[in-house]
Every structure is written in C-alpha cells, then in structure tokens.
Symmetry: C2
Subunit: 154 residues, 2 copies
Amino acid sequence: MSEGFLLHAIQLACDSVASGGGPFGAVVVEDGKVVAAGQNRVVPGCDPTAHAEIEAIRAACRAKGTYDLSHCELYASCEPCPMCLGAIHWARIGRLHYACTREDAAQAGFDDALLYRELALPATARSLRVSQALRDKGLEAFRAWESDADRVPY
Amino acid sequence: MSEGFLLHAIQLACDSVASGGGPFGAVVVEDGKVVAAGQNRVVPGCDPTAHAEIEAIRAACRAKGTYDLSHCELYASCEPCPMCLGAIHWARIGRLHYACTREDAAQAGFDDALLYRELALPATARSLRVSQALRDKGLEAFRAWESDADRVPY
C-alpha cells in the first residue's frame, strides 16, 4: 500500500469535480509506477459506465495493449461499486486500495449501497424486471464459440 | 418482451465470434426501436469492460446524448454478469430480457458464476485483497462536490 498513490487518486477525485465530473478518482499501478489514471466522467461524457475505476482500467489496457492487468494494483478514492468490482475481476487485478467507503458515497448522494443490496437479492426480488426466453437459440452462440479454432479464451 | 429483439441480440453474439470477439450480443430498445447494439470486444479491443451489454449501453448513451436510459429495455444473448448488471442499474434501465443463463456461460468457459459468488462474500473473504486508508483525506472530494453549486447530481 502506497499512501502516495492513494493521495493521487484522491486528488483526481477533487479535480474531477472542478471539471464537471463526479467526485471519484482512480489510478492503476504496476511495479511502483502509475500506468493510467481515471476520473468519473458520467455526466460530462454521457456515459453511465464512466466511473473512475473503469476509466482507469480501460486507459491502462489501452496503454499496455492487453485486457489482462494481473500484475497491477488499483488505487481508488472510494470503495468501488459492484460494477467496478466486476471490472476489477475481469481485468484480473488482485489488489485494491481505497479511501472512502460506500457509506461515505451514499452520504454524498451516490447510492452504491442500494446496488449492493439489489445484487444480494434473488433475481426475482430485484427492482430490475427480468424475463428469459429462447435459451436453445441463444446456445448457438456458445456452440459457434466452442467450434471456432481461432478463439482466444479469456 | 419481443422475440425479434432477443433474436437480434443472439445474432450479434454469433457474429461476434466470427469477428474475434466473445459469444455475446446485446441491443438497447426504446419505443419498439433498436437504439444501439453491442458485441463482446474484450479480446479484439483489449478492454476487459467491453462486454456486449456495456458496449450497447455506451453506444445508446452516445446516440441519445444522455447517461439516462430510463425509458429503454435491454435485450442480451446471455444473463448479464454483475459488472453489466451494475451498468444496467447506473443507466437506469428497468427491464432486461436474456436468453442463456450464467450456468450456460460457465459451461462455455466464462465463469460469471465465480464473480457472483465472490460478490456475495464479505469483502474480507473475497480473493481480491483489499486495504483501506486515508478516509479523512478522501472525504475532501465529497466536500468539494457538496459545495460545488454547478454540480449535476446523477
């Protein structure tokens, strides 16, 4: 854990507010160096997925030319929401450091805690209405994948 | 629920394999029309967040010039992973339709089920190693947000 990288993420969060973004920042670090940084760009970028962690992960992958950040750590100004935890998982980042908590975010009007509660519920109990159909047809995509000799498993 | 839109998402999933992507597709629909489509681009795009649902949501937001897809529905070839469920939540999409299940995805080598299990664990029991520090410093970003008269809550 480096306090310097965490302070960097926090500074990005403060700067983000000044440029019209939400109060969140993050940096991806590898071998003691910042690979990429991200700030919340949901409103200015018209992108609900542009959380600081996702922006930092995407920028790090662009910089390194890979979708695999196994050797990297993520520093975030606030505890990541489940979407960003998912992105951390898919990027194979193994270490996360953060400053504020989901409760701090909720206090400031960002209800990550609601999403945590939603995801803990059985699918049928969530506020998101869900229906399923055409599974047999859908499986054709997986069959195409499995029979593709050029596929790159990830 | 429109089977036509779900078939569209499945076709995108099949086409994605042929162009080097993973076997997943999604479309965002509003008022009976496709607003945007997405395919899995993790490997060809070097982007671990480029799941079909996220690609479709980002494209729909670009097309509509907003981060709010409250009036839209999402059709996906497979049950979304927690990262994509988070994106659906933040985009305020209220209805989701899908074909294959997370178990079907796991069978094909995409272990969304593992991520669901991880997120259900207490933070200290997850494989992701986490540390927290500098909360007081981090709170300064939220104080900056709260005192910014121009902020756009979202």
